[in-house]
């Protein structure tokens, strides 16, 4: 079985990153926006693991970094969801278009 070249994996991760960015900019539901951000962070994880395995297999910097990113992404999502729940209590909606009291 021939090995998958690194460029294929980088293509997937970069595509995932920009899909996440596109989702963040176009979606109006806060939970979906949060999912889009997670997509961006996961693309970074793929990058790290791929670089680590293909280019620098002698030490595990990239893999460790990935573990920390997963942990912090969970913490960030927890705080974000707490904020969204609190926002839902006062606005009765999780659509960002409804939370636009402050502008300019």
């Amino acid at each position: 079985m021939s090995e998958i070249p690194l460029t294929h994996i980088l293509f997937v991760s970069t595509a995932l990153f920009f899909i996440g960015m596109y989702g963040l900019f176009t979606r109006r539901n806060m939970i979906t926006m949060l999912m889009a951000v997670e997509l961006m962070l996961n693309s970074v994880n793929i990058n790290f693991v791929a670089f680590n395995k293909y280019l620098f297999p002698e030490n595990l910097d990239g893999v460790f970094f990935t573990i920390f990113i997963i942990t912090i992404a969970a913490a960030e999502a927890a705080v974000a969801i707490a904020i969204i729940i609190n926002l839902y209590r006062s606005h009765h909606s999780i659509d960002v278009e409804d939370a636009t009291e402050m502008k300019w």
Partner: protein, 470 residues
């Protein structure tokens, strides 16, 4: 060895100890009143500030993940001073709040994150510190749970900071892919300016620019400042931004030194944009917190000029300006916090005739505004002067001219507020504000700092001798 551990990590360990003391009080059975908790927290933060000045040592730990030196100690002490003043000013708002201890817990964990970030000598350590510094801030922005604006501000902060850390991380991952290392010591030798590395650097730069709200990435700033409780706003605008500026300057000067040509042009473009747009938007604000938010965006543009000088004076002027900015901006936000806590008024028109009822606070606010505008006897003038001098060393006089013109524009909206304070008549001015010993102490520290750090040249010379450039 163990001794070294405690001395080198003193700045990180002390907030951790205070954190646990307060946490045990929270989970314990003792029912302490708000007043005694605030007194205890302020005393502990004061000890934290004073302890920073003794027994310091240079060195690294954890396989070069963590390093500290005299300049880093100074930077951390500036942040300690900032958090102490913020805590003094928060008293008026916290006095009747249900969750006093949580406020301090979040504040301290954010401070700890900033310290780890400043001391980090590895991209992993730096990223962990950065997240520890920003996630509690989002929770803090939502601290007035029942206010609609507060939760909107927190939502905007967490979404934009998650997005910016996504950009930053993608940059870090590409940097890792091209160099194979994450250590600040090994990176410079491996940077060769290839296209992929420049792309990675641009992403990293964008992540930083989000945190210090440089113009194309500033959109969250004004909304978060307006919605968050005033003490949190002052913490965000002074302590958090100060920490990111310290890291930004040192990372650009040491790690990304081989890409200096690239980042000089980026800094040039962004500082012009930041100053012009920050000032133009500040002109049209009606809410005083929003006006101060846009003015702080404009000040970031001046700091970028200083950093672009890439000399010893570049670092020194940026650190000095942050010190001055701590006193100046906290004086302004201190007055705004008192007025907001007691009357709920935050519009510029509410401040008309403020001098008639509150002469002391009006003078404090006026001195702070003059310092922000950069009028000579105050420290703000010297701060801007050194920044522009450092930038002028590159002999890019277009940049300096634009900066000088922007200072004139900024004078308009600062003086407009001063005019409202002293000259405009108002049928129903803000009633007489009473303020306690904490707020008095904060005001005295800020005024003394604004006057002395400008007039005493030893301050700048001390910072200059600690700084490095190339």
């Amino acid at each position: 060895m163990l001794n070294d551990f405690f001395i080198l990590m003193k700045f990180e360990l002390l907030p951790a100890v205070i954190f646990f003391v307060l946490l045990f009080i929270k989970v314990g059975t003792a029912e302490l009143s708000n007043a005694s908790i605030i007194r205890l927290a302020n005393i502990l933060l004061f000890i934290n500030l004073v302890a920073g000045f003794f027994y310091n040592k240079d060195g690294g730990m954890f396989g070069d993940m963590f390093h500290t030196n005299a300049l880093i100690v100074l930077q951390k002490s500036i942040l300690n001073l900032g958090i102490f003043i913020v805590s003094l000013q928060a008293e008026a708002w916290l006095r009747t709040h249900k969750h006093v201890i949580e406020f301090y817990l979040l504040l301290l964990s954010s401070l700890m994150g900033m310290f780890f970030m400043i001391s980090g000598a590895n991209l992993l350590m730096f990223y962990l510190g950065l997240e520890l510094a920003t996630i509690p801030l989002a929770a803090l922005a939502n601290f007035d749970l029942e206010k609609r604006k507060s939760s909107e501000a927190a939502m905007k902060l967490i979404m934009s900071s998650a997005f910016s850390s996504g950009l930053l991380l993608f940059g870090i991952s590409l940097m890792y892919g091209t160099t194979g290392t994450l250590g600040f010591a090994q990176l410079p030798a491996l940077l060769n300016g290839s296209n992929l590395q420049v792309f990675a650097f641009v992403l990293l730069f964008a992540g930083f620019a989000f945190k210090i709200s440089v113009v194309p990435f500033h959109l969250w700033t004004a909304d978060v400042y307006e919605g968050a409780p005033v003490p949190v706003t002052s913490f965000l605008s002074v302590v958090s931004k100060g920490a990111f500026i310290f890291v930004f300057a040192s990372v650009l000067y040491t790690v990304f030194k081989p890409l200096a040509d690239t980042w000089y042009h980026m800094l040039f473009l962004l500082s012009v944009l930041t100053m012009v747009i920050g000032n133009l938007f500040a002109l049209r604000q009606q809410n005083i917190k929003r006006m101060l938010a846009f003015s702080s965006i404009a000040q970031m543009g001046f700091i970028l000029i200083g950093i672009s000088g890439s000399s010893q004076a570049g670092t020194a002027s940026a650190v000095y300006f942050v010190l001055v900015y701590v006193f100046t901006n906290l004086a302004a936000f201190g007055v705004v916090a008192l007025v907001s806590a007691q009357t709920g008024k935050e519009d510029i028109t509410d401040y008309k005739g403020f001098h008639a009822t509150n002469p002391v606070l009006a003078w404090v606010l006026a001195i702070a505004l003059f310092s922000l505008a950069g009028v000579p006897p105050t420290a703000g003038f010297f701060g801007k002067f050194f920044l522009i001098m450092a930038g002028a060393a590159k002999q890019n006089y277009w940049l300096i001219t634009i900066a000088a013109l922007n200072m004139i524009v900024s004078l308009y909206y600062y003086l407009n507020l001063v005019k409202a304070l002293f000259m405009d008549a108002n049928a129903s001015p803000v009633p007489k504000i009473t303020f306690g010993v904490y707020a008095k102490l904060a005001i005295v520290i800020c005024i003394a700092g604004m006057v002395l750090s400008g007039l005493a040249s030893v301050v700048y010379e001390y910072i200059y001798n600690l700084s490095t450039g190339f």
